[in-house]
Symmetry: C2
Subunit: 287 residues, 2 copies
């Protein structure tokens, strides 16, 4: 039986790998991925003695096909994604392709890991989760994601812009913290500005925002700005953008979205405020 592991690399440095990802990459015979990620794994020294297949950016279906064919042939394959394979990564294109090719469940199970069969071939499939960009970037900022958050990709390669725009409005209406993946590229130059314009309809122009480029990689850049500042900001393919909710603020160079402790407790004494009880619902605060 072949084995296919969808491996989340985390932000892209060795220390950001999970022990499971490191172990699976160590045992893999073949590693398949987008060329940037393959390059990072090479620098980490994790590809020595392995078969390596590097593909271009829009070739996700080719990567998935190659991984499936090799696993069907009995190889132990690691198909890598930056961050987490489930967040704009390889998990969905792989399952979509398996469905199209007619892979059937072979173990009667639910969820993953699992065994899947096509003709005479059988494949063990496992997803190894990783630290997604939102969490990596948040750790470099302070606590921007400490309250309810939307992850939203601005890429229009597979999503029509009207749907992206509808989601930006919804994120504004719900006062969600917003993390933008793929905020900008050479071709897509106006979407980030338009996103800021939409969110400005719902929250103050001073709302903290941040651009983090190449988190945990060489030449990492962390820029704090405001929602209004995003109107003129420049981002790239390696940038993740974070926009606070209406309660977010800056504190000594950090991006602080409060969890709500100050609504319930006197932070000086740590005692509950009058009318509030630890372990019971918050009584004050509005929607």
């Amino acid at each position: 039986m072949g084995e296919l592991y969808l491996v989340g690399m985390g932000p892209g440095n060795l220390e950001g790998l999970t022990l499971r990802a490191q172990e699976v990459l160590g045992r893999a015979g073949t590693v398949i991925g987008y060329s940037t990620y393959i390059g990072l794994l090479e620098e980490m020294g994790l590809l020595e003695g392995k078969g390596v297949v590097r593909k271009g950016m829009t070739e996700e279906l080719d990567r998935a096909e190659e991984a499936l064919e090799r696993a069907l042939g009995g190889e132990r394959v690691a198909l890598v994604s930056g961050g987490d394979p489930g967040v704009y990564g390889m998990a969905a294109p792989l399952l979509e392709l398996m469905e199209e090719r007619g892979f059937r469940r072979a173990d009667g199970g639910v969820g993953l890991p699992g065994r899947f069969r096509l003709g005479e071939g059988e494949v063990w499939l496992e997803v190894v989760p990783g630290v997604t960009a939102a969490n990596a970037v948040a750790s470099l900022l302070g606590s921007p994601m400490a309250h309810d958050t939307c992850l939203l990709s601005l890429s229009d390669l597979l999503t029509p812009w009207p749907l992206i725009q509808r989601r930006l409005h919804a994120a504004g209406q719900g006062d969600f913290v917003v993390v933008l993946y793929n905020p900008q590229s050479k071709r897509r130059h106006w979407q980030l500005r338009r996103s800021a314009e939409i969110l400005l309809q719902y929250r103050p122009k001073e709302t903290p925002a941040a651009l983090v480029k190449g988190a945990y990689r060489r030449r990492q850049e962390v820029v704090l700005t405001t929602l209004e500042g995003l109107l003129e900001a420049e981002a790239g393919m390696l940038t993740t953008v974070v926009i606070g909710n209406s309660q977010s603020r800056l504190y000594e160079g950090t991006f602080l979205t409060p969890r709500g402790y100050a609504l319930k407790y006197d932070l000086e004494t740590k005692e509950a405020l009058p009318g509030e009880t630890p372990g019971l619902p918050l009584r004050r605060g509005d929607a």
Copy 2:
């Protein structure tokens, strides 16, 4: 100078730690955390020879205070959170308390890691990100989070219910995948049902949903159901709930939210559909 590390444990098994988390825990003199997480670290054998402070569930501010005092006293402290410290974890209460206590930045920097000063004391502060529950749970299901997603906590201890409800409506309007943290407790028994009722106003009752309890821990349970099924579902403090968007479907026991490849490509030939071009915006599909 004392050192304070906010360490994300990931789902709670040794293999889910990042290499950085393992290293930081290895070097820490004192480990502070909620008793469940301390218990998990003990089982992993990571606490031998260390000072250990375990606190109860609603004592986040006490944990933060203890960590700060010890770091100010020169200790090397790891303050642990399940999953990621930035997602409903210890990052926000720590920064909120530092602000209240009057800690000032000592390095003139932006973001974290950084050095902070209070009186004569100085503390190095770093957040070590981890795999948050949403990603751990997604990896056990298939690809539920492959499109834009909201992370939403149903806990009303620090958030008024009307705000939670407003966010559920927004998530419905935006057709976001929804991941519910803290969906239910003994006291909070009706919020999960009410959440399903709200989302049923926006998407079909057959929409896939899942309950995952104790992901990557002993007695892990993965249950696939539907949005309608959540009306009668039982969840607990260790459960994370995932609700698909309008495109999500089941495929051979996996929870598949498509990324959108089938809108642009013929999955059999992997060629772009008529009118579509790889690397250019999607032309079909609606909002």
